[in-house]
Amino acid sequence: MLPEIPKNETLLFQMEGVSKRYGGVRALEQAELRVHAGRIHAILGENGAGKSTLIKVMAGVVAPDEGRMTMAGNEVSFASPAEANKAGIVCIFQELSLIPDLSVADNIVISDPPKKFGMIDRKAQRKIAEEALARAGAADIHPLALVKDLPLSRRQMVEIAKALARKPRILILDEATSALTAADVSKVFAVLKRLRSEGLALLYISHRMHEIAELADECTVFRNGRNVATYKAGSKSDNEVVELMIGREYSHIFPPKPPAAASDRPPVLECRNLSWNGRLREISLSVRAGEVIGLGGLDGQGQRELLLALFGVLRGVSGEILVDGRPASIASPAAARAEGIGMALIPEDRKTEGLMLPMSVRENLSFAALDQVSSGGVIDRAAEQRLIDEMVRLLAIRTAGVDIPVGALSGGNQQKVVIAKWLMRKPRIILLNDPTRGIDVGTKQELYQLLRQLADADAAIIFYSTDYDELIGCCDRVLVLYDGAIKRELAGDEITERALIASALNIRSGAEAMAVGAGA
C-alpha cells in the first residue's frame, strides 16, 4: 500500500498501531505513519479525522493508549513535549506562540536559554538567534527587535527560526500558513523546500489543496482515526482525494425535513457584507422563519466569529444586519436578545460561556429571562418557578431538583439547560455553535428533534456543526465557509458529504466539474 521509497531517502520516524481514545471517542485507531528524511509529507483529513491527535502524540502532548513509535530505528515514547523536542520532533502550531513584548532572540531561545553563572548569556543567545534566523532565511530580522513590531509574515519566520533553534530532525507544521497572505506563503515555502534539501523531514498539515500540491512529496489521508491511504503527491486527482476522505459511519437518526421550507416568506435575519478583522470576509446570508441553515466547512474558518458577530459580541464588525428587513444595530448580547430582535446564541463552550457551573439549575435556567419574570428588578418567584417547570418538562432535563449546582448534571443535561435558558425567551432567531459537542447520542437525538420543532414553530435557525452528518441530517441549506468567506451554498439534495468536503477544501467535486464541462 505504501509507495516505494527511493533508496537515498531514509526512514526517520515510524508509527505503528497507535490508538488513542477520549472517553468513548476513538480519535486514533491503529494509525500507521512513516516519515522520511528529506521529504515533505502532507496529512489530510476532515474535521475529527484524527490529524490533531496524531500530531499531539508525535509531539509528546498526549500519550497514546497503545502502539509503538520508532525514531531512526530506536523505539521511543514521549512523556512531555520537552522529551519529543529532545528526540528531534518540533511542532509549529497554528496559533503563533511568540510573546509580543520580548525580543526576537528572547523568543527563539525561550524554552532553553544559554546560561553563564546562572544568568542568561545574552551574547550566546544572540548568536543562536542569528544562526536560527539565517537558517530560516530571515537573516534580515534583527535579533533584538521586539516581536510586536514585526509584521505577521515575519513573525511566522521567527516562529520557524524558533523551531529550528531546537535542532529538529522532524518539523511539524500545523496549519502554519493559515494566517499568511499568498505572497508570504511563497516565502515560507521557499524556506521549507530548502530545509527539505538539508535533510529535514517535514510534516505538513493544511486544508489548502493547492499548497499541498505545490509543496508535498507524499500525502497521507486520515479518516475516522485511521490512515486510509498514502500516495505520492500529484498521483491522485482532487476528486479522488475527496473520495478517500469521505466515509464516516452514519450513527444518528434525524427527524424528517419538511418539503422545502417555504421560499416565498420574507427573511427574518439577513446580513450583508459582514467583515471583521480579516477573519470574516464579506459574508452575506439570509434566513427565513422555519428554516434551518447550517454552517459548514473545516474547523476555524470563521463560523464561530460569524455567530458572535451576529450576536453583537465582536467589536468593529463592518457590514449590515437586518431583522425583518429593517436595519438593526446589535452592539451587545443585551441588544440581540431584546424585544423586536429576539435572538439567542447557544455558545460554543457550555462550561465557560453558557453556564455558571456552581450556581443552581434554577438560577442558570432563568438567568437570561429574568427580565420577563420580574418587575422593577424584583424577581417574581412563582412566575420564575412556572417557567422553569415548563422548561424542565419540555426538554426532559434529568436533574435531582432545580436547586443543585448545574455542574453536577451530565454534559447532555447541562447542554439542555443552556438551550432551555434561551428558549424561555421564546427567541425568533436561534444561533447554535456546535451544540452537540461532547454529549451522548441519546441527547443528540433529542436536540435534533427539538431543532426541527423550533423551526416548525417558525424560528429562524443558524446551526454550526463540526459534524457533517448533522449538517446533512438537520439543515435545509448549508453555507460552507472557507477562510472567513462563504464559498458555497448547498440546498436540499445537494447537501451530501462529498459536496461538503469538496467545498470545505475549496475544490469542485468531479461530478460538478463534468457537468460544467458538458454545459460548456
Partner: protein, 328 residues
Amino acid sequence: MSDTTTARIAGRMPGFLRRADPAVATAFACIILLLVFGSLYSTSFLSPEYLLQQLKVASFLGVIASGMMLVILLGQIDLSVPWVVAVGAMMACAAAAHGTAGMVLAIPFGIACGVLIGLVNGIGVAYLRIPSMIITLATNAVAQGLMVVHTGGFSPQDSASAAMRWLATGFLLPGVPNAVVVWAIVGAAMVFVLTRTTFGRAVYAIGNRERAAYLSGVDTRRIVMIAFAVSGGLSAFGGVLLAGYASKAAQAMGDAYLLPAIAAVVLGGTSILGGRGSYLGTVAGVILITLLQSILSVMQMPEAGRQVIYGVVIIGMLLLYGRAPASR
C-alpha cells in the same frame, strides 16, 4: 425520591439559609468560642450591656462590610474604604456647618460623596478595565489628598449634626442602639437585593463566570459599576455614623476599617474569588472580628499584635475556604 424531597425542602427555605455553607457555621461557632474564652477571663463578657455595646460597635463595621461584600462577590476588591469613610464623615460634618439646610442635607451629602468616588471606581473597573486593586487604591489616595486640602491637614473643627449623633448613639427602640437598627435595615436590604432581585442574581453570576453572564444578555458593566457605587456609598455612610458616634470627623479615621471589612467578609465564607457567599456569613464575620478586637484590647494586646492577628486570621480563612473549588 429522597433527593427530590430534600431539594423541595431546600426550595422552601429562605434563600440566605440555603446559601449558607459550612464557613458560616464555623464563624458562628468561633463567636461562641470567643465568648466562652472571654468569660473565663472576666464574667462581664457575657453581660447584656457588654454584648449590646459590642453589637453597636459592630454596626459601623457591618455597614462598611456590606458594601465590601458586594464588590468581593463580583470577584473584585475595594481598597478605597479608608478614605471614603473619612470623606463621608468629613463632608457630612462640613455640610452640617452650613445652617439649617446643611444640617438637613448633611447625611445625604456625605453618602453622595462616597457614591461619587464609588462611581469613579466602578467606571474604571467596568468600562476602562483597570484592575480594581489598582483603581481603588488610586482613588483612595486622591480622596486622602482632597481631604488633607479640605482640612489643611489638621483635625477638622466641624461637628456632626444632631441627626448624625442620634443615628449613631440614640435609642429609637428602648434598649436597642439606633446604630444596630441602621445595620439591621442595611442588612435586610442587602439580603433582599442579593436573593430576590435581578441585580443580586447578576452579581453572583458575574462573580462565577462573567463571560457567561455577558453572553446571557446581561449588561455586566453596568452591574459592576453600580456595585462599586453602592460600596462607596455604604463606606461613606459608615463614616457618617462614625462621625456621629465621635461627634466629629478625624484624619485617618477609616484606616482601621479596611482590613477588618475584608476579613469579616472572608471569615463569613464569601469566596475571595467571587460568586459565592451569603450575607448571614458577613454578619457572623463582622461580629467575630468586633469581638476579637474587643477581647484583644481588654487583654491589653498592643496594636501591633492585633494587626498580626488580623492578618493571620485572614490568611488562615483564605487557606481554609478561599482555595476551595467554586463548584462545591
